[in-house]
Symmetry: C2
Subunit: 665 residues, 2 copies
């Protein structure tokens, strides 16, 4: 963790009740293939071409390979040393070489009771690394200079200690819940392991399955939406770096929008290396063995998620420099995209978004319609209106000079801004059944689904889409959701914020709308996405604490219990992992970062007696302790400016070094 | 300027008084060699290996080459189109191919009075670029999609307009000085042309001769010291990016220090791609044709410059995030290096730095001594003390949490900090002649130089070192400087700051010390470095305005008049160019960014009647107008917090949108 160019392994073998000769091989293998996902196995799985392998010295070998499409060179040198009782054994090693493979073979004589330790240090470099001369040369020089295993371990442990210090999260629950704590720690571990301080200077995005498995081939989806809010309050530098990954692909998103006939920037649903759309057009149903059309690239809502992420980052950090230099340009171009995607319905005097998909992948078109996509997906329309509001707020947040610069750069004038304002006030949201936000227009006309019947018929109906398709049916016909995308709104926004946008849109909104919609959609959801339980636990936190905790503990099992039908071996579910942590961090504490304030509104589940966390906010480190009766906030000493904190309805200022305790009823 | 992956050229040929056939060739040439510097010509000058060349379509060709040591691939596609009166001519093109070279040849018939326009668009990519799939593919796709020349030109012009808006500098001087304005504009142009917004996301440093020529082979020296203070008040994001270049090489600087027997981090004098020392050990005197030992790598003072640059950037921007995440670690490691380099002189109860070189390259050892380096170079010792003070200030600027993290990471304890404190108070500075700061210990024992005699004997004695060496003599024997490095102190620090450090060191310091030292050293300096006139003009600004302006106008001629002995063809002198701009920006205005304030202390030369500039400070854009009688500061509207401004002795607060005029006597 302290140096991404070093990997180390120490293996000790003790001859407990025997003696004899050990044969040991220490290799670098460039013949590895991608075969971790069953259904991809028939596709081309060899992605490395060998370039060179050679022995550097008696201890050290080198292997260079190159990825066969992107032409990235990967060089590794491996130093292998053998120790007996802390003495280096001077052993003659044989070189074994095959195409794309090199190894050192050697033999060790071991007497009964004797131990031998084999230390293998590898230095991986790629041709895309910064501050290198040539990656093979760096690999060679690094491994020759590096110290012993113990030294590396010490530095590695220290780097992790610093990370744990930043990710401090301490829940106090009864003994039987020890597993909950364990899993939280495991997921906390995976977050900085995947979104690493070591890659923050590289052009790296958030792959939905981490670096752990090959599902989705490393493509970048919208999982950031579930990850960044947690990360923003821990190591926001990492979020910043990951947002830059999006900024670098803004030009591509612009040309993608243009080719599709829109203005502004349209980021793809599945983003490949250079920001191109990588969503498949056909999708294999492993249940039926049939290839079916896949409209998932119509999930334009990823563009709203990107704006949400920029906004959250800036709110949590106060980093207006980032907003000015990078964020604002993305926000404006995405706002422009939404405005150009929206069409005016004269009869209703409303703007509509037609032919898209919401996050709920069970619905990609109307039943019996040949046209892909749905009209007026509420989540998408709401988010589009919200994005336009954020774009219109930018002149207040940027310097006049930068605002003018951006207007000139993007050829943005008053007339266009006025149009955005209008669209943000007249976006259509469809309702049915007296206050139910329709997942999309005409959702109410779909058939109710026979949940009981199917639950009896199949063990697990999480992937109802595959079941129905295999039966020749389609979820498009029914009021069923993989994840209920209307509920995403209650996940992303507090009732105050919802009220603001609905008010702007001139639609009635009462607090009761929330539990009513939750009840409606939860009973029509199969939880087919790893993200759905996170969202559902979150939205229940204030109306049904017990069910929220139940859903939370279920969500926690996503990778620990591999409950997504054995998909953990194909990679961890990054969004679900971070989402679980964030239920503790932001949902049960009611933490929000809005209007230049840090808001608390705690409502701990019965099971959580006390919660301690350390968060980063606008340059401060805050130690927060919450019980059912009170909340304590301690601002660690720093040079950061005083911040405003709001607990329930009370607002107060907190200076560095200060400590405040507030009673909560 | 708006897209680093596009280069465009439009050539129009009109047959004014003839008619006939034109033969045109549009090529991509990978056979270019580095032959721009006469004295390097005998060295290997071929640095590109051809990989592939092919025709993509009737308009487009592709060339791929690779640098032969660093293995960076460079791909370019070129699209050539021919237009007559806005109609595309559909001309048959012949492909011409040679090793590492490809061209399109074609013929055009031109009648008398007719015009033909040839548009050539090239898309350069390298394998190190971000957001790419594979560089050849990107080059091909880009050039196929890109628009017409006029569109590219429009976007390019707009990007430049934005840059000019940021670099606004308006001097009002009599007509005869029009050349001064012209040169200032030319140098302003070269700054963002070289340290570009386009490279701020790449791993790029500041080459002392820009990208314009091949002298010093692109190595990174200390020129940043003369460039960043100007840039910090214009586009600080670029400074930040260039400081990250140093951060990425911190690990290398650590191992360089360790190998040399020191602690902390020691950055090299001439930094190569991966941060290794690239200073030559032998140096060719073109005057004598002899190779002589070169001790220039003993210029350890580059390490102080790096800290100074980080500090200035943070003061101008208030970017504590950068300080916390990157800057502080460099500062601490360099402080540690200085403390380990300093040796204790028990007799004097002082710390000394022995065997180094100051910025004045005429002195690299004592006369007749075989030991390289000099003892107690005042510039170096003073800067080392200053660096230690900045390191000791860090706990106040960082959060307690980050400070603890850094202490653990660097294994830094109270005892070591106490040692730094002691060294920062007991560093030795040598004086002679009642208040002259000795350039180094025993400088006073050197012989006075026969300036008049040599000025008569040689036309130009700027490079006195080469003249003396060719005579079998050495500048080491004389009180002569290429640039007077004691005067660097007055360039970098105000008298108030100098007083603070000298006071801490328990040495007497009066304001009169400054003019006295200036007079002493200016009369012993040959101005052999392009940077010396900048420094000398600066330090004279307050004691001899007339001479300051004279030196300034001489410094301005560095590249415009090519007065460094014809070296401009080997590359521009980046430091001198930016230094000239900064004389206007900070020296004559007395602008400093210190103690959380923006300080003004203007003293315009007679020739400058009015000065208008736009500067960026802590998120504000400030329009500043200065005349001999008053100063006006206008804070453009923004969301930035109020700032403190000090004009002479008066301190006031300025809010965004506010405008203040202050009379100055």
């Amino acid at each position: 963790m302290h140096d991404m160019h070093i990997a180390a392994l120490e293996t000790t073998i003790t001859a407990e009740n025997w003696s004899g000769q050990l044969e040991i091989r220490s290799a670098l293998d460039g013949r590895v293939v991608n075969s971790g996902v069953e259904r991809y196995k028939e596709l081309n799985k060899t992605h490395l071409n060998p370039i060179e392998s050679r022995e550097i010295n008696d201890d050290t070998i080198l292997l260079r390979v190159q990825t066969n499409q992107s032409k990235i060179e990967i060089a590794q040198a491996a130093r292998t040393r053998v120790f007996m009782q802390e003495n280096t054994l001077d052993i003659n090693k044989q070189v074994v070489q095959e195409e794309g493979y090199i190894a050192h073979d050697f033999k060790v004589e071991l007497g009964e009771g004797e131990s031998v330790s084999i230390e293998k240090i590898v230095s991986p470099y790629t041709s895309r690394d910064h501050a290198i001369s040539e990656c093979g040369l760096e690999a060679e020089n690094t491994v020759v200079q590096v110290g012993r295993f113990e030294e590396i371990l010490k530095d590695h442990a220290l780097a992790w200690e610093n990370l744990w210090n930043r990710f401090h999260l301490d829940i106090s629950i009864p003994n039987k819940e020890h597993r909950t704590e364990q899993i939280l720690h495991l997921y906390t571990f995976h977050l900085p392991q995947t979104l690493s301080i070591n890659t923050k200077d590289l052009d790296v995005g958030v792959p939905s399955r981490g670096w752990h498995g090959e599902a989705y081939r490393g493509h970048v989806f919208w999982d950031e939406l579930f990850i960044f809010p947690f990360l923003n309050l821990r190591i926001p530098e990492i979020t910043r770096a990951l947002l830059l990954y999006r900024y670098r692909r803004l030009e591509k998103a612009r040309s993608t929008a243009q080719i599709a006939g829109y203005r502004g920037a349209m980021y793809p649903w599945q983003s490949g290396s250079n920001g191109r759309e990588e969503s498949q057009k056909l999708h294999l149903n492993p249940k039926s063995g049939r290839w079916i059309p896949d409209n998932s690239q119509l999930q334009r809502h990823v563009n709203a998620a990107i704006v949400y992420n920029i906004w959250q980052y800036c709110q949590a950090t106060g980093d207006l420099k980032f907003l000015s230099a990078y964020g604002a340009e993305i926000i404006l171009e995405i706002a422009r995209f939404w405005a150009s995607l929206a069409t005016y319905n004269k009869k209703l005097d409303r703007y509509e978004i037609l032919g898209v998909m919401g996050p709920d992948e069970y619905h990609d078109s109307y039943p019996d319609s040949k046209k892909p996509g749905l009209n007026n997906n509420s989540y998408t329309n709401f988010m589009a209106a919200w994005v336009l509001c954020r774009a219109l707020e930018l002149p207040e947040l940027l310097s006049e000079n930068r605002w003018r610069e951006l207007c000139a750069l993007l050829d943005l004038d008053r007339e266009e801004l006025e149009h955005w304002d209008e669209v943000s006030r007249k976006m259509r949201i469809v309702f049915h059944d007296d206050g139910i936000i329709s997942q999309f227009e005409n959702y109410d006309q779909l058939e109710e689904f026979d949940w009981d019947g199917y639950r009896k018929k199949y063990d697990n109906i999480q992937r109802l889409d595959r079941i129905l398709m295999a039966e020749g049916d389609t979820p498009n016909r029914y009021k069923v959701s993989k994840q209920a995308d209307v509920l995403m709104l209650f996940y992303l926004f507090s009732s105050e914020e919802l009220g603001e946008i609905f008010g702007r849109l001139n639609y009635p909104f009462k607090y009761e709308t929330i539990p009513k919609n939750i009840a409606y959609y939860l009973s029509r959801t199969s939880n087919g996405s790893s993200l759905s339980r996170v969202v559902h636990s979150w939205v229940e936190a204030r109306s049904d604490r017990e069910n929220s905790w139940k859903l939370f503990t279920q969500a926690l099992e996503t990778d620990m219990g591999d409950i997504q039908g054995g998909t953990t071996s194909e990679g961890i579910h990054m969004g679900a992992m971070a989402g679980c942590l964030d239920i503790i961090q932001r949902c049960y504490t009611g933490i929000e970062t809005r209007k230049d304030m840090l808001l608390f509104n705690p409502m701990l589940p019965e099971e959580l007696k006390e919660l301690k966390l350390r968060i980063s906010y606008k340059g401060h480190w805050l130690d927060v302790t919450i019980t059912s009766g009170e909340i304590n906030v301690q601002a660690l000493p720093s040079a950061a400016r005083p911040i405003k904190i709001k607990v329930k309805d009370k607002i107060f200022e907190l200076k560095q070094g200060e400590n405040k305790t507030i009673q909560i009823e």
